[in-house]
């Protein structure tokens, strides 16, 4: 069977996800301007420890080999270690994303003693000025301190996770050097207009010239740098980047949010992409296998407005979430289409869907946009 038919098979969906992201809490000590889940305040409906363990039991039965835990800041949860240990004890490997604020010397030693655990520390600049402009004052120092603690504890190769923006794209070599210095692995991912990123995206996303810069840098570094397969829209520039080159939403990936709702991917927290809840009868398994939304995402997609473009096979029309939250049709070009079709399409957009489940802390400028009051009311019901 050739690689292309394998991808066709994956597009029709797997029996269980390969890569499942689970945001454990909407609570966070930081307020990053591009937060995908608009995190800040804890949701009172958060899954309990017992409910979370029941989900892990189900994932074990489904043979989900590993999960990506995030948030919010997952280490805020009091049962964080209990859940991680429960997962690992059930043969579910854990990679968790953290801003590092709660990794002191003690916690670093505890984490280092655990087998089958990956840690990913978020950093969006190789200096405090660049990083803190996006992730908040003091966040650079917190992240670096956590990395130092992990290195001192002998954790081994943790990951440094970077969202590439207009302002840090010139630091890619420095990020790599920083990771190499720690014996860490560098992971760079694409900025999405999701969550609070819906507002900041327009100022932060890389320019068209920078996209080529990212593409060439990634090609030069190959599989040495992880990307979560997030840059496949750049494949229209030439040779394909490593990875599956497909949108995995609802096919091989999905998101479980802190209150147990299941979305097609971590970048589409919106009712239109909500497949169900782990609290529904049938649990996660029924949502994954039978939900109307996931079934429809596994049907062949139409190239739509991109059908006449010679690059469609390479870029697959790009990212569903990026299109959705910039108000573009899902069967048209990605807003960052390297041929410029997205830029042109954006000019015709009059309004874009608002992200839902806003858990931003009160007083943020972002909550003063039209419609936000109603959203806040909804999340409090």
């Amino acid at each position: 069977m050739s690689a292309s038919t394998l991808v066709d098979q994956m597009k029709r969906g797997l029996d269980a996800p390969i890569c499942l992201t689970w945001e454990l809490t909407y609570a966070c000590n930081l307020e990053c301007v591009h937060c995908l889940s608009s995190s800040g305040r804890r949701d009172p409906r958060e899954l309990t420890t017992d409910e979370a363990k029941a989900v892990l039991d189900e994932l074990r039965a489904l043979q989900v080999f590993y999960i990506n835990i995030g948030g919010g800041e997952p280490m805020v949860r009091r049962d964080f270690f209990e859940l991680v240990e429960y997962a690992i004890g059930n043969d579910i490997g854990v990679k968790f994303s953290t801003n590092g604020a709660f990794i002191d010397a003690d916690k670093a030693r505890r984490l280092a003693a655990m087998d089958y655990l990956d840690i990913q520390i978020s950093l969006d600049g190789t200096d405090a000025v660049t990083n803190d402009a996006v992730r908040g004052e003091g966040s650079y120092d917190l992240a670096r301190r956590a990395m130092d603690h992990l290195a001192d504890a002998g954790f081994g190769p943790f990951k440094i996770s970077v969202v590439v923006t207009r302002h840090n794209v010139d630091q890619l070599d420095e990020f790599k050097a920083l990771a190499d210095g720690y014996g860490a692995q560098l992971r760079v991912t694409r900025l999405r207009p999701s969550g609070r990123g819906a507002e900041s995206w327009h100022d932060l996303h890389p320019t068209n010239a920078q996209q080529r810069q990212i593409y060439e840098w990634l090609l030069a570094h190959g599989e040495d740098v992880l990307t979560g397969d997030s840059f496949f829209h750049l494949n229209a520039l030439g040779e394909s980047l490593p990875g599956l080159n497909m949108c995995g939403a609802g096919r091989v990936v999905c998101l479980i949010d802190p209150i147990g709702d299941v979305y097609a991917c971590p970048f589409v927290i919106h009712d239109q992409f909500k497949a169900g809840s782990v609290r529904d009868a049938g649990g996660f398994t029924a949502v994954w296998r039978e939900s109307e939304l996931f079934t429809s995402l596994r049907e062949p997609e139409s190239a739509g407005a991109c059908a006449s473009c010679g690059s469609y096979d390479a870029c697959q029309g790009g990212c569903m979430a990026a299109k959705f939250f910039t108000g573009l049709p899902l069967d048209g070009p990605d807003p960052e289409c390297v041929s410029g079709h997205g830029e042109a399409a954006l000019l015709a957009v009059s309004s874009a869907p608002r992200p839902m489940m806003d858990h931003s802390k009160p007083g943020r400028a972002s909550t003063s946009v039209p419609g936000a009051t109603q959203l806040v009311t909804l999340t409090r019901k």
């Binding site: 069977m1 797997l14 029996d15 043979q63 080999f65």
Partner: protein, 89 residues
């Protein structure tokens, strides 16, 4: 390859899928796709046979396909999904 006593590494799990199976190595954390149900059957039966040849025969794999299977098994050995058993008779 045909005379080797191979087996699935004890830290590898197979998960059936419509196209074949996923093999995941808990030690190296590598994920590999077994892209044909026949490959899955052969891999799953290696432990019960003294050699690769015996496993292929018992799974009813036609001899003209053996080179392709040996190629697939070699790459699974390289990724440490399979290893040589020491408990062979």
């Amino acid at each position: 390859m045909l005379d080797r006593p191979l087996g699935l590494h004890e830290r590898v799990a197979l998960r059936p899928e419509p196209f074949g199976a996923l093999a995941y190595h808990y030690g190296t954390r590598r994920l590999v796709f077994l892209k044909h149900p026949d490959v899955v059957r052969v891999v799953g039966s290696l432990d019960q046979h003294p050699t690769v040849r015996a496993a292929l025969e018992s799974c009813g794999i036609a001899e003209d396909r053996w080179p392709a299977f040996c190629g697939a098994l070699t790459s699974l050995c390289e990724s440490e999904m399979l290893h040589e058993r020491v408990d062979t008779c």
